[in-house]
């Protein structure tokens, strides 16, 4: 159990990159980018985990119970919401590309300039 979550992180990154490289559709590439980004959340939470620790909310458990690291949770939290907005911006670029060039194939889009 010592290194297994980090192996999963590496697998998700490689899978997402494979999807981006072998993609023939801009929307498919954007979704694969989402997958790559989700691996960073798993990595953050995996680094901060304490075995036997509770969630860092002391509303109903006594203070100074052993808890997991709250800092990485704060980072991952804002990360998740911001990712959605950035994806929306990427999608708007894809929409305009479709309007202007009529295609969403990255191989064909690479030939257009400007």
């Amino acid at each position: 159990m010592g290194i297994f979550p980090f192996l999963v992180v590496a697998w998700v990154v490689v899978a997402g990159l494979y999807g981006i490289i072998t993609s023939r559709d801009l929307i498919h590439q954007i979704v694969c980018l989402i997958v790559v980004q989700s691996s960073t959340y798993v990595l953050l939470l995996g680094v901060g985990y304490v075995t036997g620790g509770a969630a860092p909310y002391f509303f109903d458990i006594p203070l100074h119970t052993k808890a997991v690291d709250p800092v990485v949770q704060a980072l991952a939290l804002t990360d998740v919401v911001v990712e959605a907005a950035v994806t929306a911006l990427l999608l708007s670029f894809a929409i305009q590309a479709q309007k202007r060039f009529g295609t969403l194939d990255p191989a064909e889009l690479a030939e257009f300039k400007g």
């Binding site: 010592g2 290194i3 509303f59 704060a74």
Partner: protein
């Protein structure tokens, strides 16, 4: 470069990436063996210092509040950028929503969906508002509350038509709410400077009971502002994408 060549190149590069990852993970203390010290220190002092039992929100809006200002503005910029990128091009004209209705071949949505969505609008909005204002107590916070509040508007679109969604979320109101949310966060920090305190210092009364709604000073206020800003940004984003369906090239 043919696809097969590209795939072989990727295989070599991915092998190198995985090797670097394994080398890095070998230096980590293993899953579950978090060594501290930053996290443990914050857990020790957070509740006494801020009277907030939700330590993650206390970190987001107090200890690392400056980072959250930046993240909120990423959201703000993405919504603004979408409005710019999806502007009406020279060769497009906007059709009226009513024009498209007569020649529709799409079947209307079922009544079950519409009734269920309509019934859920109120509770969803209340839930989002509750989450945005209780950041200091339990697992909630401005970001999640804002997204749920935005989804209440999306439920209106599912329950009715595009017209009702448009009428209930006018662009001017959304822009104003988003600006108030983003600007309010910055203004709270600047008010601290006006009182000769560091930027984003917690100067409001901290309350007596840890975890009560009125405790933890500026954390609750900031979380509320972040909530309405995130909600407005998401409704703007969805409104932009929905408005795209009305554009036709001339």
């Amino acid at each position: 470069m043919t696809p097969r060549q590209r795939l072989w190149f990727f295989a070599v590069a991915a092998a190198g990436l995985v090797a670097c990852y394994l080398w890095a993970f070998a230096g980590l203390p293993g899953f579950g063996g978090y060594p501290g010290p930053y996290g443990q220190e914050i857990l020790r002092v957070a509740v006494q210092q801020t009277n907030a039992t939700g330590v993650v929100s206390a970190i987001n809006f107090e200890y690392r509040g400056f980072d959250t200002v930046g993240e909120e503005f990423i959201l703000f910029a993405a919504a603004a950028g979408m409005s710019v990128v999806l502007r009406k091009l020279r060769e497009e004209r906007e059709t009226e929503p009513a024009d498209e209705a007569e020649s529709r071949t799409v079947p209307p949505s079922s009544s079950a969906v519409r009734v269920a969505a309509l019934l859920m609008v109120g509770p969803t909005a209340v839930l989002g508002w509750w989450l945005a204002s209780h950041a200091q107590a339990s697992p909630s916070g401005g970001f999640q509350g804002g997204v749920i509040l935005a989804s209440a508007f999306l439920l209106i679109y599912l329950a009715g038509e595009f017209l009702s969604f448009r009428r209930l979320s006018p662009d001017a109101l959304l822009d104003a709410v988003e600006a108030v949310g983003a600007g309010g966060f910055v203004a709270i920090g600047l008010a601290a400077i006006a009182m000769n305190l560091p930027y984003l210092d917690n100067y409001l009364p901290l309350g007596t009971i840890p975890g009560a709604v009125s405790s933890s000073g500026t954390i609750a206020l900031i979380s509320f502002f972040v909530g309405i800003e995130v909600a407005a940004a998401f409704v703007l984003i969805v409104g932009e994408l929905l408005g795209q369906t009305l554009l036709r090239s001339a």
